[in-house]
Every structure is written in C-alpha cells, then in structure tokens.
C-alpha cells in the first residue's frame, strides 16, 4: 500500500518529544516515524527508536579482506622466490608485518568510507517530507503513514503543538 510522509514542525523540543510519545501511544510502528534535528540531541531524548547500525561490519570486513590479501601476497611472493636472508625462515613474520598492517588498515579505511556512503544512504533521492528550517533549529517529526490515516496523524502532530504540518 502506498505511504504518505507527514512532517510536523516544532519550535520547542519538548513539543517534539510529546509528539513522539503520542505516536507511540497511537500504536504506530517505531520504524515508521523519526525525529529530524539540525543538531545531535542526546540519544533517546525524544523517545525515538534508534535503528541498529551496521557500520562496524564494514571496517571489520575490510580488515579481514586486507589481512587475507596481505598474507597471500607476502607469502606467495616469498615462496615463489625463496631466498634465505640472515638465516631467517623463508616465511618470516616480522618481514611480513609492515605490508600486512598497511593493507589491513587501508582496506578497513576504504570499507569504512564505503560504509559511510551506504549507512548515510547518500545520495538520498527520497528523504520523505522535509523542511529546510530544521537546519535552523526547528525540530521535525516525520511519519510514514498508510493511505487513509493522514488526518489522524496530522491531528496527533498538531495536538502536540506543531507550528505546521506538511505532506510529501
């Protein structure tokens, strides 16, 4: 079923928190509404549902790939050209450390940046209802609602003290 995005704008953060409470009380799915702010409020300040992030998976995956590549690269080249240096074993760990560390780190860093793009959903072509005044300090409560419930949700947002509501 098609969904409509409704945004309530609040001057006072307390009113935004009240709107979030009212949406919880109306048995809305926590994944269907969120708070938009121009500055990072302490987590849970609005009683919002904070989605699980997957950001740590990216550097861990990158590090594993980089580490594996580095081990394969250094071991394979040393085995393909076996020269004993200073009486040390052909596969000497200290000689492999620098490249292993560097490739592990680089791969983790690159995957972290890719993770940022993925987690931030950049570019976001369909952000839902939005108002530029959020970057000027207003609090936005955005709700994704099924057709037919728009008026009910707008009433909840207005009752909490919304200075304005808009649909997208």
């Amino acid at each position: 079923m098609a969904k409509t995005s409704i945004l309530g704008l609040y001057e006072d953060p307390e009113d935004g928190a009240k709107a979030m409470d009212a949406l919880h009380a109306a048995n809305m799915d926590p994944n269907d509404f969120d708070v938009l702010t121009g500055t990072p409020y302490p987590e849970g300040a609005f009683g919002e549902h904070v989605p699980q992030h997957r950001l740590f998976r990216f550097p861990v995956f990158g590090a594993m790939v980089g580490f594996t590549l580095a081990i394969v690269f250094t071991a394979a080249t040393q085995l393909a050209w076996p020269i004993v240096t200073g009486g040390k074993p052909i596969l000497a760990v200290p000689a492999m450390l620098i490249i292993t560390y560097e490739l592990t780190m680089l791969s983790a860093v690159v995957m972290t940046v890719i993770g940022i793009l993925f987690e931030s959903r950049l570019p976001n072509f369909n952000p839902g209802a939005y108002d530029t005044r959020i970057t000027e300090g207003l609090i936005g409560v955005v709700v994704s609602v099924e057709e037919g419930r728009e008026s009910e949700i707008e009433a909840i947002l207005n009752n909490a003290g919304a200075m304005e509501t808009k649909r997208a």
Binding site: L36, Y41, L55, T85, E102, S120, T135, E136
Partner: protein
Amino acid sequence: MASRITAAAHDDRPTFQEAAADLVNAPSTAASSTTTRWFLILGAFVVLGVVGFVLKIADHGMDDRRAWGYYVAMVSFLLTTAGGAPMLSIAPVLAKANWVRPVMRVSQLFSSIGVLTAIMSIPLIFLLPPLVEDEVRRRSIWFGSPAYFPHIWDTIAIFGLVFLGLALLWASSMPDLAAIRESGSGRRQQWARRLAPGFIGTSGQWKALRIRIGVLSAFYFLFLIFTHVLFASDYIHALVPGYKDAIFPMYHALTSLQAGTASVILASYFLWRYGGFNRYIGINQIWNLAKLQFALSLLWFYFFFSAFIVFWYSRTPQNEKVIELFDQGPHLWAFLGALFFCFIIPMWTLMWNFIRVSMRGPAIIAGVIIFGTLLDRIRLGVGAWATEGINDKFLQVVPETVWPDLWDIFMFLGMFAGAAFLFLLVTRLIPAVSLWEIQQSRLISKPAMYMRSEVEIVGKPD
C-alpha cells in the same frame, strides 16, 4: 552535602540562529577582498616554490642526494605538523572533553594540507635510493624485499593517511554541509549539495555520524604512527650507515603530536584574532591546549634523551659518529635550535599559569615550537641525506654542514604558502568552527554559579 550550584549567570553564548548566521550563511567573516588578496599573495609564493623545485632539478638532477636534504626535511615537517594536528580532534574527544568542540574543526582542517604533503612526497619516490645497488643490499626494515618496496609502500602509506584525514574532515563536516546546502548561497551551496546530498538529521544519521567519526579517528591514530615509523625509518634512519636506534621512529611520531598541537593553537589564535571567531574560540580552548602543549614538550625531551643517552654512553665509534652527525657537528645550530624551541623555551614558559591563561602567550610559544620542529627536521633530514657510503657498516666520515641554496629557500616559501593556501581554501567551503558541535555543546551545557564563581555544568550523555 547539598550542591552549592545555583541559577545561571547570564548566558552570552551565541544562539543557534546567531551561530548559523556566523558559520553557515557567511563563507568567512573576513572581508572577501582581503581574502582574495591573500589568495593571490599565497598563490604567487606557491608558484615561486614550484620554480625553485624545477630549478633545483635543473641544477642538481635527482641523483645528488646531498642536494635534496632540505626537500626531505620539508616533507617530514609537513607530515609532522599538518599530519599531527587532526589528533587534537581525536584524543580529547575520547576523554569526552567539552572544551575542545570549538577547535575540533580547526584541527581537522589541517587534513587539507595533507594534499600538499602527498604531492610533495611523489618526488621522494625518485630520490630515495633502491634497497639493492650494485648487487649490495643496504640495511633497512624491509629485510629481503624487492628493491623498490619502500618507495611503493611508503607512498601508499602517506596517501592513505591523507585520504583518511580528508574522510574524517568530510564525515564530521556533513551536518554543517547539510546546513549550507539549505541556507548557503552560490558556489558554496553547490559544493555542499554534492558533498552532503542525503543528510537530513534523522536519529539514525546522527548515531552513524558519531560512530563513523569514532572509527575514522581510531584509524587515523593507528595510521599516523605507522606512517611516521615508515617515513622516519626509510627516509632518515636507513640512510645513515650504522645508525641503529629503536626509539627514533617513535620520536618522529611523538614530535608530530607536539607540533600538531602547536599548529592548532596558532591557527585557533589567528581565527580568534583575525577571523571573526572570537565568540566561539576563547581562553578556555587555548588554556587547555596549552596544558597539552606543556606535557608534550616534556615528552619531546624524554624521547630525545632516551635515545641520546644510549649513544652517548656506549662510546662506540659508530654511535659517536651518529651523535656528531645529528647533534654536535655540522648541524649543531639546528640541534640547539630544536632543543631550545621545542623543549627549553616551552617548558620554562608554559609552566607558568599566567602565560597558559592568555591568548597570546600559548600562541607565541606555539610559533616557537613550530620553528623548533622545522629546525629539528632540517637536522635529521639534511644530516641523513648528506651522508655517504650507504652500504658501509658505519658512518666513516661526518659530512660538512649543508646550507640551503636559493632554490631551497624558494621551496620553503612555497611550502608554507601552499599549506596556508589550502587551509584557507577549505575554510571557504567548510566553516572553521563546527556549527553542530557548538550547538550540541550548548544543548548539554549551561553556565551556572557555584557560590560566587561562574562555572559550567556539562552533561555527558554519550
């Protein structure tokens, strides 16, 4: 016992709207005609530096190592100062320090100078001798690796560090870029649209922002130390025959933290004094940075002395030659300068509270430390690149003093101008003080009275 904290004294911190007007709507509070003039002047010096580089190649080619010692010192200096500065936005944040917020962006902006470090590191690939020459392998940290491994991996490390620094700057600037996207104007707004197209401030995005800054910061620290160890080992340490010092690479890395702190203090002072940011940067930031600077200046001597005492006590001919090369002989002037400017002067000035609790005092000392770091890098870079007999067991002859020629001076001027140019250029797009950091600080702190003194109450929810 009941708390004696009472109602707030007056709160003169900028409101969200005032901060947005200062930091987002205006690209820079400095007059644009003055800024343009500065760009032209700095650009002219950059061109002079490039001319110096070209003429240096024409005069000496790239095989005469002795002629390129000052160039190595320049890259080492950039890696030390600009590379170390972003650490200031990492270490205090781990300790949840609230005072650092106004200068966090200043420290991250130094990542932009990394572009110059990366570009200037490219000629080093052609200057550094291979590991094997005339079928003789020289001593290095690369054991039996192919002859050009340090050229490849050191360059990748420097470029990786620069990429990481820019990623950290971009990630932490995204909320401000989103604000510029909505409220800015002109070309600045167009750039902001490209760099932060999807950030709208959902709770998930703010959480991801915090985590990504934390992850990138941790990587930056790990990579900074690693890059310094590689650079110090391959471009200085391994070129001096018989030089064996386990502390030296860490000395190179640690002085980066000292010089990075000095760079942030100096930049913060200029932004406070001339940039129109005096409502955001103040005595609280400079005072706390000065305390760090004091501690790091003591560590400078600790690391230097730990290495020196082993060489001095051993009295072997190899070690005496190394001391003569770096500390007593041809570069005594640079060593004394580094000792005075990086340790003695900072220690005997910053130990006094009345100097730390001032805007000008720590800024002057920061300038002194940066100059001392430059002399230190000249001592090490020029000294190491002037030696001969790279495959010998130890240094046979300590070289004469190498003085900079005209082309070196041109390149020095170009390097300083290029660094300032890049820093100013990035501040045209990204506010030099972070709007969201300032606003979050305002949300979780407030001025109050404790009996008869003014204090700040800070909430630390994270």
